[in-house]
C-alpha cells in the first residue's frame, strides 16, 4: 500500500485526572450524542470526555481503589468500570445511574470487553485463570472459561499463578475469545461450545492487551506483551504470523484501527507508536507523554481518532489519516 498512516496531535489534557490514568475506551455514538471517551484512573474516578476538544462531560466516583479497566457496550448506552478490588460497576453512560454491581467471589478483574452483539461481558479473571462471562440482561455470571493448566510433572508448582489472566478479546464474529496470561501464552476459546481450543505461543512475559483484526472473518490477533513485542497471530491456525519490535519496555496496550490498516501501541517506554504490519515496523513514534502509556484506543466508526492515556495524568487525542 502506498498510502501510509500518520498521526497528528489534536488535543492534550494535562492533569485530566488527579493521578495516573490507567485505562481508556470509546463509548460508541448514540442518536443523541457523538462518541465519548471514557477513562479510568488511580484517583478512583471514571471520567467521560467529549471529542475533539476533550471537554469533561462527567466524573463518576464510587470506586475505593484505582480503576483498572473500563468497557463500553456496543450500543453506547451502558459501560462498565472495574477497580483494583475486583468490583465491577455497570452504569448508564448518559445518566450515571448504577445498573449493576458485579462481585465475583474471590476472583479478580482486569481487562473487560463486551461482545460485538452486546449480550455478554467478558472479564479477564486474573488469579482465577479464567474468563468470566456475565450476561448483560440479567447481570448474572453465566459461564467461566478456564485456561487448562499444563500437564507438567508437578501440577501444583505454582502453575495457576502463571496462568493469571490479564487480557481478553472477542473476535469480530463473537464466536471466539482470546485471553492472555502472564506466562506469555494466549488461549483461544470457542464461545458457543464453551470449549478451550488451543494456546498461541511466542510471548514469554505477561500479555497485557489483545485485539482482533476487525475484518469480518478476522482471525488475525494482535497481542502486546511485557517482552516489548507486538505479535500477530493466526488465531485459528495456531501460528505466529509475525513479530514487531521497537518498544524499549513493556507494551501495555494495543489497538487496531476500524479499517484494520493501522496498529497503535502504548508502552512503558512513554511512547505511543503506530505500526505498519506489512513493513513489520513502527512508522511513527509519538513521545508527548512523560510517563508510561497505559492505554491507546481508536475511535470506532471512522473519523480517524486515536486516544492515549498515561501515568503522567494526561489524555491525548490524535488525528489519524
Amino acid at each position: 500500500m502506498a498510502k501510509s498512516m500518520k498521526l497528528a496531535g489534536l488535543k492534550s489534557v494535562e492533569n485530566a485526572h488527579d493521578e495516573s490514568v490507567w485505562t481508556a475506551t470509546w463509548v460508541p455514538a448514540t442518536n443523541s450524542r457523538p462518541p465519548l471517551l471514557l477513562t479510568g484512573s488511580l484517583d478512583e474516578t471514571v471520567k467521560l470526555w467529549r471529542p475533539d476538544e476533550l471537554e469533561l462531560v462527567r466524573t463518576n466516583t464510587g470506586h475505593c481503589l484505582g480503576v483498572v479497566s473500563v468497557a463500553a457496550h456496543p450500543s453506547g448506552v451502558i459501560a462498565a468500570s472495574a477497580s483494583l478490588d475486583s468490583l465491577v460497576r455497570v452504569f448508564d453512560v448518559d445518566t450515571n445511574a448504577t445498573i449493576a454491581t458485579l462481585e465475583a467471589p474471590p476472583s479478580e478483574v482486569w481487562q473487560m470487553q463486551f461482545d460485538p452483539e452486546g449480550t455478554t461481558l467478558a472479564v479477564a479473571g486474573g488469579g482465577s485463570a479464567s474468563i468470566k462471562l456475565w450476561d448483560t440482561a440479567t447481570w448474572r455470571l453465566v459461564s467461566t472459561l478456564s485456561v487448562p493448566r499444563p500437564e507438567g510433572p508437578k501440577p501444583s508448582d505454582k502453575s495457576s499463578s502463571k496462568k493469571f489472566v490479564l487480557s481478553v478479546a472477542w473476535s469480530p464474529d463473537g464466536r471466539r475469545l482470546a485471553c492472555g496470561s502472564i506466562d506469555g501464552t494466549i488461549s483461544i476459546f470457542d464461545v458457543p461450545r464453551a470449549k478451550f481450543l488451543h494456546h498461541l505461543e511466542g510471548h514469554y512475559m505477561p500479555v497485557r492487551s489483545l485485539v482482533f483484526s476487525p475484518e469480518p472473518d478476522g482471525r488475525k490477533l494482535y497481542s502486546a506483551s511485557d517482552d516489548g513485542h507486538v505479535h500477530v497471530y493466526d488465531a485459528e491456525g495456531k501460528a505466529i504470523i509475525g513479530a514487531m519490535s521497537g518498544h524499549s519496555s513493556w507494551v501495555l496496550s494495543v489497538d487496531v484501527s476500524p479499517d484494520g490498516e493501522a496498529i497503535a501501541t502504548g508502552s512503558s517506554d512513554k511512547t505511543v507508536r503506530l505500526w505498519d504490519f506489512k513493513m513489520r515496523a513502527a512508522i511513527q513514534t509519538m513521545s508527548n507523554h512523560t510517563d508510561q502509556v497505559w492505554a491507546v484506543a481508536f475511535r470506532p466508526g471512522g473519523g480517524g481518532r486515536l486516544a492515549s492515556v498515561s501515568d503522567d495524568k494526561s489524555i491525548s487525542l490524535y488525528h489519524c489519516s
Partner: protein, 1188 residues
C-alpha cells in the same frame, strides 16, 4: 375504461366545436390530433390535423414528433419519419422521445455515424439533452472511445442519476482508462441501484484483485455467484481472489491460514472446471493453486499432550510430505492440461518445470542420471525456445538448472536482456558466493540491493559474510532478520521455491544463537515457520528447542530435541556424529533444567557410552547426580571434569571451575569445599564470576581462609555493576560475620553500605539493600530513613534488584510508622515528626499492583497499608469492605498454601487483619474464627503470641472474661520478642480483677530489649505511658503521674506523653488543690505544644486553663486563641465557642479588639453558636439571658 372513453369523446367534441369556430388555431389542430391519436382507429385523421397544425405553426416541435411517430409506425415512410424527427429535434433538442425514436430508426438501418452525429448535434445544442448524452455515451463505449464516453456518460447521469446502466457503463469506461478508484465507485453505485448487476460485481471484483484488495474482491465475486450460480468469470475471479489472499497469508508467514484458503480456492476452481473443462486459463489457475498449496502446506504438530515417538513422528512427516507431493503432482497435471489446450503459452512450460522441481525435492530420489538433462531444465528450454527474449525465463533456467556454468550463463543472459533485474543480480551473487568469488559476490549483491532494497537474498548474503569475520554476529543477525522479514513480502516471482524458505529461517536462528538473540520474538516466529516447512530436517527442531530453552520453556524444549533426534534417525543421508552429540547434550540440559534429573542422568549415561560426553555434558551429569542424591558419583564426575579443565579455553574453564566450587560446597559443606578450593591452582580463579562464588563461600567461613584467593580474584571485577554487586555481597557477609546468635550485625552492614553508597550514589542495588537492612534493624526511626534512602522509580521497579525492591521498602516503612500522616487532620493528629506520607505509599502500591497484578507481595503490603489507614480513620465502612475483598482475593492465592515461613507469616498477618476488621465492625464471632485460623498456622511462638492476643481481646470484647483470661495465660506461656506485644498484653491484663505478678513484664522487657541500645529509652517511655494509662483507668492519679513523669524526663520528642502527663497533673492539681502539680502541668503541656509538629487540640485549652488558674490572664488569652486555631474548622466543639465567648467578653472593654479572632463576633453570637452546636448543655443556656 368506459368513463375515460366517454371523457375522451367529450373532449374531442369540445375541440371539434372550438375548431369550427376558429379554424386557424394551430394548437387546436394539434390537440385534436393528439386526441384522435389516442383512439387508435383514426390515426390518419390525427396526422391530417397535425399537418395542418405545422403548416400554420412550423415551430411546433411536438407536432413534428407525433408526425414522426405516425410515419414511422402507421404509414411506414421511414425517410419522412426521419425528417420529421430531425425537424422536431432542431426545434427542441431536449426532446428525448423524438431523439430516441430517431436513433432507433437509424440504428435499425445501421447508420451509426449519423446516429452519433445527431446525438452530438443535440448535445451540442442543449446541455439538457440528456437522452443524447446517454445515447452518445453508450455509442462511445461501444466504439471504445473511453475518455469521450466518460464525459458523455457523466453528463447523462445528471439527467438520469438512478440509471444503473449508465453507472455500469461509466464504470467500464473508467476501468478501461485505468482509473480504478473511480471505476469501483461507479460500479458500486450501479450495484447499489440494482443489486443483481453481475457484470458490475465481477468487474469490480477484478479491479479489487488487480489492486491487491483480495478480501473485497472475494466479497464481490461471492455476491455475483449468489445471483448467477455457475458464472465462469465469477468462479475464476473467486478462485484467483482466494489464491491471492492465500499468497498474501503465505508471504506474511501464516501458512495454515494460507492452506485453508487454498483448499477453498481449489474447490471453486474445480467447480469452474466442471462447468467448462476446456479453458486453459482455468487449468493454469488450478495448477497455481495446487502448486502454492504444495509450497505452503505446513507440517502440524499433534494436538497438545500427545507425545511423539519415533514411529509416529516418521508417519507424521511422511504424511505431510505425501500431501505436499500429491498437491505438486496434481499441479503439474493441471499445468499439462493447460499447456495441452494452449501450447503456445511459454510461461506454462516454466510452471511445469517449477512443479517438477518441487516434486523431485519432495521425493528426493536422485535416480536420474546426472548426465542427462533433467526435466525442469528441458521444459525451461522449451519456454525459451518460444520466447527467447524473456529475461525472466533465463533467470528461471538458472534457478532450475544444477550446472553452475549454465546458471551463470543464463543469469548473465537474463541481465543482458534486462539489466535492472534485481533478483537476477541477487542469484548471481549467491552463485559467486558458492563459487567462493567473494568480491564478485559482493558486487552482485550490491547491485541487487541498489535496484531493490527490499530483496531478501542480498541481506542473507551479507549475513553469510559474517562467518568470514568481516562483521560481528550482531550485524549478521540484523541482516538476516531483515532477510527473513522481507523475504515473504517480495515473493513476486514464483521460482523462489519455498523449501528454500526454511534456509533463511534456520540461518537466522543459528545467527541468533551466536549473537545471543535466541529469545527474540522474531526468531521464535521464524523457527516455528522453519519447523512447519522443514519438519524432516533435524536442525530446525534442534534450534526450535534452543529457542524454547532460551525462553525458559523446558518441557517444550525437551519435546523439540526429541523430535530433532527422530528427524536425524529418519533422514537418509549420513549424519555427523557431532549433531547427535549436540542434540543429546541439549536434551540432557533441558531435562535437568526442567527438574527431570533421572532423565538427564539417563541421557548423560547414553552419551558416555558413545564417548561423547564433553565438559558441558559432565556438568549436567554431575549436577543431575547431585540432585538425585548420588553424591559420590557426582564427585567422581566432578573429578573427571576438573581433570579436563586444563585443556579448556579460558571462558569454559572459568565456567567449569565455578561449577566445581559450587557443587563442592553443596555436597561437602563449606569446610571441605574450602579445602578443595585452596588446592585448585590460583590462576584458574581469574574471573569475576568465580570471585562472587568464592566470596559467598567465604562469607560463611568465620576463619576467612579464602581471603587470599578473593583478594586476587577481585582484581577482575571490571564493570560498576560487578563492583556494586560485590559491595552488596560484602555487606551481607558483614551482617553474618559481625552478628551474634540472635541478631545480625546490622550496624556493620549499614556502615559498609553507607560507604559504598557514597562511592556509587546511583546504585539502586545498594540503596535497596541499605533500606532493607535499616528496616530490619528495628532501630527507632530507621523506618523513615529507610524509605528515604530507596528511590521509587517505575522504570526500575520492573527489574527487581537485590532482596527487596524500592516500593516494598518504602511501603513497609510506611506501615511501620505509627503515624500514618493523614493529610486530613479530621481523623487524627500525628505526632510523628517524620511527616512521611503513607498516601504516597498507597498510590505506589496500587501502581505496582496495576503493573504486576499477580504480585502477592504488593497486595499484601496494600492490605497492611489500608489497615493502617482504616485504623487511623476509625474503621470507616467503605475501607473495611475493600479490605475484606482484598483479603479474600489474597487468601485465595496459591502462594499462601505454601509451607515456607514467609508464606505462613504473610498468611498469619492477613488473618490478623481480617480478624481486626471484624472486631472493629462488631462481628466478634467472625473475628474469633479468623483469629483462630491465624493461630493454627505453624509459626514461631513469638508470632503465635499475637494470634492469641487478638483472641484475648475478642473474648474480652464479647464479655467472656473466662476465655479471655485463658488466652491471656496462653500468651504468657508463648512469650514474644516484640515489646509492643507485651505492652498490649499488659493493657489487657488491667482488665482482669486479680493482679498477677507483674514482674513478668519487666523481665520480658529487659530480655527483649537486649541488643537494642538505641531504642531502649523509647521503649521504656512507651511502657511507662502504658502503665500510666492503666493507673488512670483505675483512677489512681498519683501513681499515674509518677509513671508518666519518668518518660517525660527520658525523652524529649513525643508530645503525647507530655500531654498525658500534663492532663494527669492538672487533674491531681484540681483534686488536691496542689499548685505544684499545676506548674508541672504547665511545663508538660508547653512542651507538648512545642514538640508536636501539628497543633494538637485541647493542649492549648488546658494550658489556658492552667495558666488562668495561676492568674496569668494574658497567657490564658493567648492560649485560648491558639486553641481556636488548632481545631479544623468543621470539628470545633461547642465548648470552644463557649470559651471564645468568655474571651470575647473579657476583651470587650479593650480598644483594639477587632483584629483578634474572638472580636469578630459578639459574646452573644459566640454563645448562640455554642448552643447551636450542642443544645443539650445547660451551661450555655444559663449564660444566654445575661447577654440578651
Amino acid at each position: 375504461m368506459e368513463t375515460t372513453g366517454e371523457l375522451e369523446g367529450e373532449e374531442r367534441r369540445r375541440l371539434e366545436e372550438l375548431l369550427e369556430s376558429n379554424p386557424d388555431d394551430s394548437s387546436l389542430h394539434f390537440q385534436l390530433g393528439v386526441c384522435l391519436w389516442e383512439t387508435q382507429t383514426e390515426k390518419e385523421k390525427a396526422a391530417e390535423h397535425w399537418v395542418i397544425s405545422v403548416k400554420q405553426n412550423p415551430k411546433n416541435a411536438a407536432a413534428f414528433t407525433y408526425l414522426g411517430h405516425y410515419y414511422a409506425t402507421v404509414s411506414v415512410d421511414i425517410p419522412r419519419a426521419i425528417k420529421c424527427y430531425q425537424r422536431a429535434l432542431s426545434l427542441n433538442p431536449d426532446d428525448s422521445d423524438s431523439g430516441e425514436a430517431l436513433c432507433d430508426l437509424l440504428d435499425s438501418q445501421g447508420k451509426e455515424t449519423l446516429e452519433v452525429a445527431i446525438c452530438k448535434d443535440a448535445s451540442h445544442n442543449s446541455p439538457r439533452a440528456f437522452w443524447a448524452f446517454r445515447r452518445l455515451g453508450f455509442l462511445q463505449v461501444h466504439q471504445k472511445k473511453w475518455s469521450e464516453a466518460v464525459q458523455s456518460l457523466q453528463q447523462a447521469i445528471r439527467g438520469y442519476p438512478t440509471s444503473p446502466d449508465l453507472w455500469e457503463a461509466l464504470g467500464l469506461a473508467y476501468h478501461r482508462l485505468g482509473m480504478f478508484t473511480a471505476a469501483i465507485k461507479s460500479y458500486s453505485r450501479a450495484i447499489e441501484l440494482e443489486d443483481t448487476r453481475v457484470f458490475a460485481l465481477i468487474e469490480c471484483g477484478n479491479i479489487f484483485l488487480m489492486l491487491g484488495s483480495f478480501r473485497k474482491g472475494i466479497e464481490q465475486f461471492q455476491q455475483a455467484l449468489k445471483i448467477s450460480l455457475q458464472n465462469m468469470s465469477a468462479l475464476y475471479g473467486l478462485a484467483s481472489g482466494l489464491l491471492g489472499m492465500a499468497k498474501e497469508c503465505r508471504n506474511s508467514g501464516a501458512f495454515r491460514w494460507a492452506a485453508s484458503l487454498l483448499e477453498d480456492a481449489r474447490k471453486v476452481a474445480e467447480a469452474s472446471i466442471k462447468s467448462a473443462g476446456n479453458s486453459s486459463c482455468t487449468w493454469k489457475l488450478h495448477g497455481d493453486i495446487l502448486l502454492t498449496y504444495a509450497q505452503v502446506f505446513p507440517w502440524t504438530e499433534e494436538s497438545q499432550g500427545l507425545e511423539y515417538n519415533a514411529e509416529t513422528f516418521k508417519n507424521s512427516v511422511y504424511s505431510w510430505k505425501n500431501t505436499c507431493g500429491l498437491a505438486a503432482i496434481s499441479a503439474r497435471n493441471s499445468y499439462q492440461r493447460a499447456l495441452h489446450l494452449a501450447p503456445w503459452q511459454a510461461n506454462i512450460y516454466i510452471d511445469i518445470a517449477i512443479s517438477s522441481n518441487l516434486i523431485s525435492s519432495f521425493n528426493q530420489d536422485n535416480t536420474l542420471d546426472k548426465c542427462t538433462w533433467k526435466l525442469p531444465e528441458k521444459l525451461t528450454l522449451g519456454a525459451l525456445a518460444l520466447e527467447g527474449e524473456n529475461s525472466e525465463f533465463w533467470v528461471a533456467l538458472s534457478c532450475l538448472s544444477e550446472c553452475n556454468a549454465l546458471k551463470q550463463h543464463s543469469l548473465i543472459r537474463g541481465l543482458q536482456l534486462d539489466v535492472s533485474l534485481a533478483y537476477a543480480w541477487a542469484y548471481l551473487g549467491k552463485l559467486y558466493r558458492e563459487e567462493n568469488e567473494k568480491k564478485l559476490a559482493r558486487q552482485a549483491f550490491d547491485c541487487a540491493r541498489g535496484i531493490d532494497p527490499s530483496l531478501a537474498l542480498p541481506w542473507a548474503g551479507m549475513s553469510a559474510d559474517a562467518h568470514t569475520g568481516d562483521s560481528t554476529p550482531d550485524d549478521a543477525f540484523e541482516s538476516c532478520l531483515r532477510a527473513v522479514e522481507i523475504f515473504p513480502v517480495s515473493v513476486d516471482i514464483t521460482f523462489y521455491a519455498l523449501p528454500k524458505l526454511a534456509e533463511f529461517q534456520i540461518g537466522l536462528a543459528k545467527l541468533a544463537l551466536l549473537s545471543g538473540n535466541l529469545s527474540s520474538s522474531q526468531v521464535f516466529g521464524a523457527i516455528q515457520q522453519a519447523v512447519q516447512r522443514a519438519p524432516h530436517y533435524h536442525e530446525s527442531h534442534n534450534l526450535y528447542g534452543l529457542v524454547h530453552e532460551a525462553r525458559m520453556q523446558f518441557q517444550a524444549a525437551i519435546a523439540s530435541y526429541r523430535l530433532a533426534r527422530y528427524a536425524i534417525n529418519i533422514s537418509l543421508g549420513t549424519v555427523l556424529k557431532s549433531h547427535l552429540k549436540d542434540i543429546s547434550t541439549n536434551l540432557a540440559r533441558s531435562l535437568s533444567k526442567a527438574g527431570n534429573a533421572i532423565g538427564a542422568v539417563q541421557e548423560c549415561e547414553d552419551l558416555k557410552k558413545e564417548g561423547m560426553l564433553d565438559a558441558e555434558g559432565l556438568q549436567i551429569y554431575a549436577f543431575s547426580l547431585w540432585q538425585l542424591g548420588e553424591n559420590d558419583l557426582a564427585l567422581s564426575v566432578t573429578r573427571a571434569l576438573a581433570a579436563s579443565v586444563s585443556t579448556m579455553d579460558r571462558i569454559s574453564a572459568a565456567v567449569s571451575v565455578s561449577f566445581i566450587c559450587r557443587l563442592l560446597y553443596y555436597i561437602s559443606g563449606p569446610d571441605l569445599a574450602i579445602g578443595s578450593i585452596l588446592k585448585i591452582p590460583k590462576e584458574l580463579f581469574h574471573s569475576s564470576k568465580i570471585s562472587f562464588i568464592v566470596s559467598a563461600i567465604n562469607a560463611l567461613d568465620q576463619n576467612n581462609r579464602l581471603e587470599s584467593i578473593i583478594s586476587s580474584s577481585r582484581y577482575f571485577l571490571a564493570s560498576q555493576e560487578e563492583i556494586t554487586g560485590m559491595h552488596y555481597l560484602i555487606a551481607l557477609s558483614k551482617l553474618i560475620k559481625h552478628g551474634t546468635k540472635h541478631h545480625l550485625g546490622f550496624q556493620n552492614g549499614v556502615n559498609h553500605l553507607r560507604k559504598a553508597l557514597h562511592m556509587y550514589p546511583n546504585s539502586i542495588l545498594i540503596r535497596n539493600l541499605l533500606g532493607y537492612i535499616l528496616l530490619c534493624s528495628e532501630v527507632w526511626g530507621n523506618s523513615h530513613v529507610s524509605s528515604r534512602c530507596s528511590i521509587v522509580d517505575d522504570s526500575d521497579s520492573k527489574n527487581k534488584e537485590g532482596l527487596k525492591s524500592a516500593w516494598e521498602i518504602s511501603s513497609a516503612g510506611a506501615v511501620a510508622c505509627h503515624a500514618i500522616g493523614n493529610s486530613e487532620p479530621r481523623f487524627s493528629f500525628p505526632t510523628c515528626s517524620c511527616q512521611c506520607t503513607s498516601s504516597g505509599a498507597m498510590q505506589e502500591l496500587q501502581k505496582c499492583l496495576r503493573r504486576e497484578p499477580w504480585n502477592h507481595n504488593a497486595r499484601y503490603l496494600l492490605i497492611l497499608n489500608l489497615l493502617q489507614k482504616a485504623r487511623e480513620e476509625r474503621f470507616p465502612v467503605n475501607i473495611c469492605i475493600v479490605l475484606e475483598r482484598l483479603i479474600s482475593v489474597a487468601l485465595s492465592n496459591e502462594f499462601y498454601s505454601g509451607k515456607e515461613a514467609i508464606c505462613q507469616y504473610q498468611k498469619f498477618q492477613i488473618y490478623l487483619c481480617a480478624s481486626e476488621i471484624l472486631l472493629q465492625r462488631g462481628n466478634i464471632m467472625g473475628c474469633i474464627d479468623q483469629a483462630k485460623n491465624a493461630s493454627v498456622l505453624s509459626l514461631p511462638d513469638s508470632f503465635q503470641f499475637f494470634g492469641h492476643l487478638l483472641l484475648c481481646r475478642a473474648y474480652a470484647a464479647e464479655g467472656n472474661l473466662k476465655f479471655s483470661k485463658e488466652e491471656y495465660e496462653r500468651c504468657l506461656e508463648l512469650k514474644t520478642d516484640f515489646l509492643v506485644g507485651w505492652l498490649c498484653l499488659k493493657l489487657m491484663e488491667s482488665q482482669y480483677e486479680e493482679q498477677p505478678a507483674s514482674n513478668i513484664f519487666e523481665l520480658a522487657f529487659k530480655e527483649g530489649s537486649e541488643g537494642r541500645n538505641n531504642s531502649w529509652n523509647m521503649w521504656m517511655a512507651v511502657y511507662s505511658l502504658g502503665m500510666g494509662l492503666i493507673c488512670l483507668w483505675n483512677q489512681d492519679f498519683l501513681s499515674a503521674e509518677e509513671f508518666l513523669e519518668q518518660p517525660c524526663s527520658l525523652t524529649s520528642a513525643e508530645s503525647c506523653i507530655f500531654l498525658c502527663h500534663g492532663v494527669t497533673s492538672m487533674e491531681i492539681a484540681r483534686r488536691y488543690h496542689d499548685s505544684q502539680f499545676l506548674s508541672s502541668a504547665i511545663r508538660s503541656l508547653s512542651k507538648a505544644h512545642i514538640t508536636s509538629s501539628v497543633p494538637i487540640p485541647i493542649v492549648s485549652a488546658l494550658l489556658a486553663q492552667a495558666e488562668g488558674s495561676i492568674g496569668s490572664r494574658k497567657k490564658w488569652e493567648r492560649n485560648l486563641r491558639l486553641e481556636w486555631f488548632s481545631w479544623p474548622p468543621e470539628m470545633r466543639p461547642a465548648e470552644l465557642f463557649f470559651q471564645m465567648h468568655l474571651l470575647a467578653r473579657q476583651i470587650a472593654s479593650e480598644s483594639d479588639s477587632s483584629s483578634r479572632v474572638e472580636g469578630c463576633q459578639s459574646p452573644l453570637q459566640w454563645v448562640l453558636r455554642a448552643i447551636h452546636t450542642n443544645p443539650s448543655d445547660l451551661r450555655y443556656w444559663k449564660v444566654l439571658p445575661k447577654l440578651l
